[in-house]
């Protein structure tokens, strides 16, 4: 027993060590790459400065003027035989010019990601070291550590990761060591089947043990099925089955259907926010939701889309709910976009009976663009908070491209909601960017 306990403590310590190892490996990657490759790196950088203006009714946070600075940077060395080494960095900092906006602190900040990535020109092979976001089957995980991925022979591919999980502001004790991987088999154009697993520990405690299968299946070009099932080995129950089927009989018509079953006790087992642990019992932790949805999308001419959709939630404990409606969307990139939607929610309780409307329009005028967005939710009966029946927000946003690299923007929200009769919020934004990838090649979208 002691040795078992010691083993798990060692794993927790290993998580911290691996976080450092990730940094060391990143350094090793940096040093091992030919120095000449960094002579003229491809650089993308963006600075976004945001000043928000608004009021809240939280104690000690009445007048809020938080000033944010976001920085994103990527450097990619010259490719040699298709191999390339890149450095990615993204982080932010905040200073409150008015009351404290969060956490009893006037300043805050975080590193969103910061890692070195080596991509090989063959086999879709990649090695990442540092703080990164891993998406491999059951893992949708930020971690400080290592990630490796490569195609193997005969249609197989494999990925593995190990490190220290990045959890922010947890209400409950979080894990400190995570590892896992995914193996796939693909037949080009037809399918990819994946099997994945994730393990994590919090000190000496088994924290998360999840396994899953995922698939993308396209027996014919007009049909594809995507989905995932995940199993919780700690609670010994299925967390989720989520599958979507899309059928495109013609270029103008698309039909889709989806199924999602979630077992709350297994799915929410290791979230770190009490908002999703259901301690207040507003939602029964033993709930099970089977959601079935579907719809149809029609594109009569390029840039115009008509959509109708329906979703049915069948709960094991709460009463069922239906959500259905339609949307019209016009989209002509960098010129004009407009649309509107109406949806109805019919549920088993007063808050789940409402009509939801949205109308928006966005137009470019040379270097400037203007957007108007109106969202209204009209409840059948008054909400429990302040007897409000109709909630709406209208937003006006404008942006002006001073130069190709500099954009100034501002927006104003006006809303009526259960917390405020008349709420006005504003935001000023300045974006300075440089993106070498835009120079005559494909676009890198932020």
């Amino acid at each position: 027993m002691n040795s078992h306990h010691s083993c798990r403590s060692l794993r927790a310590a290993a998580g911290r060590v691996l976080a450092w190892a990730g940094g060391l490996a990143a350094g090793a990657l940096l040093i091992s790459f030919p120095a000449g490759a960094w002579a003229a790196p491809e650089v993308s950088a963006e600075s976004t400065t945001i000043l928000r203006l608004g009021n809240t009714d939280f104690p000690g946070s009445k007048d809020l003027y938080p000033l944010y600075e976001y920085l994103h940077l990527s450097l990619t060395g010259a490719e040699t035989k298709g191999n390339s080494l890149s450095l990615y960095f993204g982080g932010w900092g905040r200073g409150d010019l008015g009351d404290k906006s969060f956490n009893d602190r006037y300043t805050d900040g975080d590193l969103q990601y910061g890692f070195l990535s080596y991509r090989w020109g063959r086999n879709n092979a990649v090695a990442n070291a540092g703080r990164q976001f891993v998406t491999e089957g059951v893992a949708t995980q930020r971690l400080d550590g290592l990630y490796l991925r490569s195609d193997l022979g005969a249609g197989f591919a494999a990925a593995a990761f190990v490190g220290s999980p990045v959890n922010t502001e947890p209400n409950v004790k979080a894990d400190d060591f995570v590892f896992g991987g995914r193996v796939t088999h693909s037949a080009a154009k037809y399918y990819t089947l994946g099997v994945s697993a994730l393990r994590s520990n919090a000190g000496s405690t088994r924290y998360r043990e999840e396994e899953g299968v995922d698939l993308w299946l396209s027996p014919v070009r007009q049909l594809d099925v995507t989905g995932r099932s995940s199993y919780n080995s700690v609670t010994e129950g299925w967390m989720e089955h989520a599958y979507t089927m899309s059928l495109r009989p013609t270029d103008k018509l698309q039909l889709f259907a989806d199924l999602r079953q979630v077992n709350y006790r297994d799915f929410f087992y290791r979230v770190t926010t009490t908002a999703l642990t259901f301690q207040d019992r507003l939602i029964d932790p033993g709930e099970r939701d089977l959601a079935l949805g579907g719809g149809i999308g029609f594109t009569p001419v390029k840039g115009v889309t008509l959509t109708a959709d329906y979703r049915h939630h069948d709960y094991e404990i709460a009463r069922e709910a239906h959500y259905y409606g339609g949307k019209v969307a016009l989209s002509f990139p960098e010129k004009f976009a407009a649309g509107g939607s109406v949806h109805r929610m019919d549920g088993g309780s007063d808050p789940l009976r409402y009509l939801e409307y949205r109308v928006y329009a966005s137009k470019s005028f040379g270097p400037a663009d203007l957007t108007l967005d109106f969202i209204d939710v009209n409840y059948d009966s008054t909400l429990s908070t302040n007897n409000v029946r109709n909630v709406f927000v209208v937003t006006a946003a404008g942006a002006y491209r001073v130069t190709r690299s500099v954009t100034l923007a501002a927006d104003v929200d006006y809303s009526k909601n259960p917390d405020f009769d008349n709420e006005v919020k504003g935001m000023l934004k300045a974006v300075v960017s440089f993106d070498a990838a835009l120079e005559g090649r494909g676009k890198s979208e932020k």
């Binding site: 089957g137 799915f267 908002a275 999703l276």
Partner: protein, 145 residues
């Protein structure tokens, strides 16, 4: 015992090395060769499996978690910051502030979400987990202590 574990490890590494050597596939382009603006309908150019990535499909948002397993394909058009805006710790800049100038994009938190989150949270709390289950919790902690 130590020797047998070492042998197993070496055998696994050798097998993995052989499999990698046998793959012989070409890595997807690091940067998409054609400029893409707005949300693309990938089927306009791609008649093969890449067409499934059609961002204008009404169910694309539901499927993007599966497509995200092919991160290298996403990265040919999207910067790392694109994922991080929702899935990494970004403090209180709500997604409603993201793409206000591109309202045709689907985002889960358009408008004033403080009132609506109580409703959506009861209908489908599982949809919150990918972004808020283990991070981006500052706003939650104000009331959910």
């Amino acid at each position: 015992m130590k020797n047998s574990k070492l042998l197993i490890l070496l055998a696994a590494l050798a097998t993995a090395g052989s499999l990698v050597a046998c793959a012989g596939t070409t890595t997807v382009a690091r940067v998409h060769p054609e400029a893409v603006t707005g949300m693309p309908d990938c089927t306009e150019c791609h008649q093969d499996s890449w067409g499934a990535f059609n961002h204008k499909a009404p169910d694309f948002m539901l499927k993007h978690k599966v497509f995200a397993n092919s991160r290298q394909a996403c990265a040919s058009c999207h910067a790392e910051a694109f994922c991080a805006d929702c899935h990494a710790h970004k403090e209180e800049i709500k997604p409603s502030d993201k793409y206000k100038d591109a309202p045709e994009r689907f985002l889960p938190h358009r408008g004033d979400y403080l009132a609506q989150h109580k409703i959506d949270g009861r209908v489908d709390p599982a949809s919150c987990v990918a972004c808020h289950g283990r991070q981006n919790n500052e706003g939650c902690k104000r009331c959910h202590r």
